[in-house]
């Protein structure tokens, strides 16, 4: 049923500062959603994907960061993409569904027919237009993006079971201890405004139960598990799980790449995934060169227009170089993210690492992560990370280490965290 104006509002959950410590030490300097992947802030990728949705009216970013952390970004991206983007700050934790509910007035301002909800720290091709079409055909309240993963890794996520013919969501469990399914929840959803009714019902149930607890003093003494406040509603456990199998929720499977960006190691990997996506969708964004007048480029490489890279250096595969960085003669960069204002001196080597803003890498020095045995790569995806303003002196070797901001390394280090 094609309505006259099927407006869509997108909501991207960006999280907050004290919640995820897994992104340290990079998160000590920048909010994770603004950390650059393939040359663009992390949140830029879902925002660009939303832009492809027809009749997109508004994008909201909701999170716990201070407004000023997002003010600049939000105004510049609104301008650039010509779409209203607004950051809304949650005053206190309400859970993933509770947060959405607390901003329902803003979201419903444009009377959207559909609401797209995404997690910012998800790396995906975000096939939103196709997913929206599928959602309309299913006619349910919500559609989840799902992905097939290896059975061993499935229990890190929400595992779900879907009907192979109707694609209905039959069963959903968050991080189960035993194997349920190798199909997992990607953290990308499309809802009709009825979702707010569903959340309201859950809130009412919780309130009733809370009142009951107050009356029964034995319940009040129980503190074995942290009692969640009555207005805390989690999307997965409180909405998706109970509604599975009731012909309200459906699934749409992505056949493209999908990863969660929880650690700096994953961010490097996801940066590579987005770079290879650029190769397909916008190759003009990637660098090219053959070593004659510009540096030798191997594989997918992004170089910010203001960065200076010496023609005798060799860059790639999977390298992102940010604004005003300088790469000296004879340098070699492989699988790394070089942030703003970094200076890499002559003949230096950087492999499997992230080099923080304003750092400097001395001549003939080597900043690297090495892993013996392919198997371990998934487990920790260890990379070497240099925080903001770290100076690695000439000829120093830094292997498998993490260095916090404002340090100078004048001796080589291996397998260390340097505070």
């Amino acid at each position: 049923m094609a309505g006259a104006e099927q407006r869509v509002v997108a909501v991207i959950m960006v999280g907050g500062p004290t919640k995820g410590t897994r992104f340290r030490p990079l998160s000590l300097n920048v909010p994770k959603p603004l950390f650059p992947l393939a040359g663009q802030p992390m949140v830029h990728h879902p925002i660009s994907a939303c832009r492809r949705i027809p009749n997109l009216a508004q994008i909201y970013l909701i999170g716990f960061y201070e407004e000023r952390e997002f003010a600049l970004y939000v105004s510049s991206i609104s301008n650039e993409l010509r779409i209203p983007v607004r950051y809304l700050r949650e005053d206190k934790p309400h859970g993933s569904a509770g947060g959405l509910y607390s901003f329902r007035d803003y979201i419903m301002e444009d009377s959207p027919s559909h609401i797209v909800l995404l997690n910012c720290d998800v790396c995906s091709s975000f096939p939103l237009p196709d997913m929206l079409e599928a959602h309309k055909k299913y006619g349910g309240m919500g559609t989840l993006l799902v992905n097939k993963v290896s059975a061993e890794s499935a229990n890190q996520f929400g595992e779900l079971v879907a009907d192979p013919d109707t694609n209905e969501l039959l069963h959903y469990t968050e991080k189960p201890e035993t194997f349920v399914s190798d199909l997992i929840n990607c953290g990308v959803y499309i809802f009709t405004p009825n979702i707010f009714n569903a959340i309201e019902d859950v809130l009412k149930q919780k309130k009733d139960r809370a009142n009951l607890r107050r009356v029964s003093s034995f319940e009040a003494l129980q503190s074995a598990t942290k009692a969640l406040p009555a207005d805390f509603v989690r999307l997965d456990q409180d909405i998706l799980s109970p509604l599975a199998g009731k012909k309200e929720l459906y699934t749409y499977q992505t056949l493209d790449f999908w990863e969660q960006i929880k650690t700096p190691g994953m961010s490097l990997r996801c940066s590579g995934l987005y770079l290879s996506q650029f190769r397909r969708t916008s190759p003009h964004l990637l660098a090219s060169g053959d070593g004659k007048r510009t540096a030798t480029i191997v594989g997918d490489v992004y170089i910010h227009p203001s960065a200076k890279v010496h023609p005798t250096s060799k860059i790639g595969p999977n390298v992102s170089i940010s604004a005003n960085a300088r790469v000296g003669a004879g340098a070699r960069l492989i699988n790394c993210i070089i942030l703003d204002d970094v200076e890499i001196m002559e003949n230096a080597v950087v492999i499997h690492s992230i080099v923080g803003w304003k750092s400097s890498i001395g001549k003939w020095s080597r900043v690297q992560a090495i892993h013996l045995g392919e198997g371990d790569h998934n487990a920790k995806l260890g990379i070497t990370i240099l925080g903001e303003a770290v100076d690695v002196e000439d000829e120093v070797v830094v292997v498998n280490s993490i260095v916090l901001p404002n340090k100078t390394l004048n001796v080589s280090v291996q397998e260390e965290i340097i505070l």
């Binding site: 004290t18 410590t21 901001p405 404002n406 505070l419």
Partner: protein, 361 residues
Amino acid sequence: MKALILVGGFGTRLRPLTLSFPKPLVDFANKPMILHQIEALKEVGVTEVVLAINYRPEVMINFLKDFEDKLGITITCSQETEPLGTAGPLALARDKLADGSGEPFFVLNSDVISEYPFAELIEFHKRHGGEATIMVTKVDEPSKYGVVVMEEASGRVERFVEKPKIFVGNKINAGIYLLNPSVLERIELRPTSIEKEVFPKIAADQQLYAMVLPGFWMDVGQPRDYITGLRLYLDSLKKKSAARLATGAHVVGNVLVHESAKIGEGCLIGPDVAIGPGCAVDDGVRLSRCTVMRGVRIKKHACISNSIIGWHSTVGQWARIENMTILGEDVHVCDEVYSNGGVVLPHKEIKSSILKPEIVM
């Protein structure tokens, strides 16, 4: 009189504590480190203190306003745009330090905790009439530091020897100076070392004198020294104003407890413990040689030694925390967990034991 306190940079050696507060505001014996020095300076008549920093002053400004009002002393910041070393900041702040009165001014290193015998220092400085006085302290292993070689009787400094290979003396620079304004003319506004460039020249002119620091001295810029420093500080407090220390059946040795902290039944606290404002120590807790910062909750039967527990953290029941464990701000150690030297960054929950010293990010 004026004073300059060299606060310096990022305090990376005191991480994870300095991830939450700039180093001068990290509490030592229940008071921000820099407040110890500012109070001692106020007592000898210093009316203006300049803080030489090369880090964001915004965080400090609010706290400083508070101290200014409470103490009735002017506190300003002198911010370096590039690191100026140990002497450069004096040149940067020259207008504030040389006010035309001709009076000498103090220069202190912010990491130093001592008895701050400033009145005696002023006396000594007037008596010898030289251009500059530095305080020196006796150490057991002088070769680790820069040694000050001086004439025993007068205290006149002959020379400095950096990390000497043979024994030339056992007095080192304690980081407390009293300087005449004329010293400012010897310092250019560029990265300069006061020990390597400025003092040797003054010594050559026979104008530099050294006074041996009576009492204790400690550079508390890193956790191990912070803990030793607390022991020395409480020792000294016992001699000077024993009334401030805690007493009772549950107290052993020198213990400082803030008046707003609550301690339960059956605890044994001490020696060398400082418990900060608003802390709650439940029944049956054993604390020794540790610092417990503002707002910390230590649950029943826990045992903590040789460690620093950061602001608003909690330590679970029967937890055992020892061997230079440093918990940053808002760290929660679950019940029954053992930490042997864990260094934990702010806002973490520790659910499993840490068997050997490691950093938890």
